[in-house]
Assembly symmetry: C2
Homo-oligomer: 356 residues x 2
DNA sequence: CTGAAAGCGCTTACAG
DNA sequence: CTGAAAGCGCTTACAG
């Protein structure tokens, strides 16, 4: 990625765009100073909107800035000790996940309002579908090299312990949706347990006692908390869990669909289904609709048109952008000097009922 | 956003995270050089993996790098003329739009593979729902100040002429989904006209002659091309357009739903509907489903579960991530020295049929 | 209110 | 193969 050596001050040129030439060396403060007939210090003061500049001088300099199209080189500014890069980073696993995308939107809003720009990096998964450790280490190194002011991370279920410790040792880090083990830090969580409880109570109130469960990874993070909410509600109501009605580890709506088909084919099928995320809810909706089964659905995440497919459904919904705004708010507060103990923010969820 | 003056070399400290202190001044090449007993030049050579370094020296330096946890300061490196920031920027209007999110994903994949990091900025809309000009100018200034190596832009329908000209004059810019008037540059477009034509042909082949049209902004960009494809197909088939069946300027699925309700209530309703984007398709699906109308749908964009709602539907689908990959590919090619005339890439679309 | 000078952390000819 | 020195474009005490 390094450009071949160039003889200074050869401009970097770009002749694409049909002969358009971009990249004549951009004007520097020195150029502005010469143009305005003042010193570089004075240009710096004007550009930084400092006080103690004679109005006439300021005007002169501003005219030169405009005439030359001067834009301060941020890399140079950043180099001074104590100066910020005015850059935040958001690290997600997969941006195509709607949660990540809306989260990023919320983060960007707050970042922009606070004068920061957002780097977006995704860790992805390796060929085996596992978290890509190499890429994760690269990302941490990249962020440290770039001296980002702060980082927001949606950690993976299987994040190596302390992966982000090196990062957290050098810049404030806010974790989103789950807190990796062994790391202290600010974290913004959804009320997953509360949502699981409310969905389950909603089913119990409607008389359901045989409730099926279709879920993804239930060993840690959001999935674990949703399951614990489910179980807590059953326990509180004195209703028994039916192990044969629980299906975990489903990774797609297709896998969820098969799971629900299995459940519906049981001699004693469930009368209701708890779906622990968007993929599960979509799969279950399809299976129930196809089977024209008399099964009530309760699931996590908004699914467009869900209410049209089944007679009765309750969905836990939330605003990922709000999660992003809050997480970015915590981070910018740290950057503004906040030194309180690690904070844990829980974002409430909503229950939306549909159907007859 | 500027930190208060600090007395050098006071470290920036962060006492959040429960007393955890981050930000002791990171080690520099000077520190590594002292630790390894070599000159700074030599450290630079090792860090940059240059040839002509004695293996023993290299090993010594690498040990010091590891011991001190040295990570080259990218701002400092960038300062030298001819050096890149290794940063691309993607500018979209709204990241919550699934197209933007998947696009960003594709861009990030290619950027990461080529050694670039992606800045993500959204222009948003102002209070009046119009493109926010002030924010757009800020973004252009920000990107120029940061000396990003290249930019990908999804321009708005109502972009001011030449808004991105200042940018394009200094760095390669690739436009996505539409090309602003008055700007030359690489552009990646979807085959919107082709998609519109195919959807319309699909309807015509099934005998439809009264085809309704539900669309958003049809004055420019993708909307205009989809409409032109619709009209071209009608013309080619010698089928008349029915002006009373055309509804434009709908901005949400709710507005599309109302439009379709109007159409279905006509004395002579359409027998088929053409929907020019995802929102329109969702609204039309709902309206047709609710009215249990015998209307065939043909629409743009994948809609989850669409086929379950209506008897027969055809959807034009495409992979926004692929658009992102291609756009980023054009950009990285420019950055690698490609100097051909502006390129226009058209990404093909698919037609998916559902229903009995 | 203004300017000369030092220095941020690197890279790069230039010597050796 | 290695080092001393200049310089990238800024900011910041320090003098005046």
């Amino acid at each position: 990625m390094t450009a071949p050596p160039v003889v200074y001050p050869a401009p970097r040129t770009f002749a694409g765009g049909g002969g358009r030439v971009a990249g004549a060396r951009p004007p520097t403060m020195r150029d502005v100073a010469a143009h305005a007939g003042v010193s570089i210090s004075t240009v710096s003061r004007v550009v930084n909107a400092e006080r103690y500049v004679d109005p006439a001088t300021r005007e002169k300099v501003e005219a030169s800035v405009a005439a030359l199209g001067f834009l301060r080189n941020e890399s140079a500014r950043t180099l001074r000790p104590g100066q910020r890069t005015a850059t935040l980073a958001l690290v997600v696993e997969d941006l195509t996940n709607p949660f990540s995308a809306e989260l990023a939107h919320g983060v960007e809003l707050v970042a922009a309002a606070a004068g920061y720009v957002m780097l977006l990096l995704s860790t992805g998964r390796d060929a085996g579908g596992e978290r890509d450790r190499v890429r994760e280490r690269e990302i941490v190194a990249e962020l440290l090299s770039r001296r980002v002011d702060g980082v927001l991370v949606v950690p993976g279920a299987d994040d190596a312990e302390g992966l982000y410790a090196a990062l957290a040792a050098r810049a404030p880090v806010v974790f989103v949706d789950r807190l990796p083990r062994g790391v202290r830090g600010d974290v913004v969580l959804l009320d997953n347990a509360g949502g699981g409880r409310r969905l389950t109570q909603w089913l119990l109130e409607r008389g359901h006692r045989r409730i099926g469960y279709v879920g993804g990874d239930q060993r840690s993070g959001p999935g674990a908390r949703r399951l614990s909410g489910f179980r807590a509600a059953l326990r509180a109501a004195g209703v028994a869990e039916h192990p044969e009605l629980l299906r975990f580890g489903r990774r797609s709506s297709d896998e969820a669909l098969s799971a629900v088909e299995e459940l519906l084919a049981l001699a004693e099928p469930p009368t209701a289904l708890f779906c622990d995320n968007n993929r599960m809810t979509v799969g279950a909706l399809l299976a129930v609709h196809r089977a024209r089964a008399d099964v009530v659905l309760a699931g996590f995440d908004a699914v467009e048109l869900a209410e049209v497919l089944v007679d009765r459904v309750a969905l836990v919904t939330y605003d990922p952008a709000d999660v992003g705004r809050r997480a970015a708010g915590l981070l910018t507060a740290r950057l503004a000097g906040e030194t309180s103990a690690p904070r844990r923010v829980t974002v409430p969820v909503d229950l939306a009922e549909f159907g007859t």
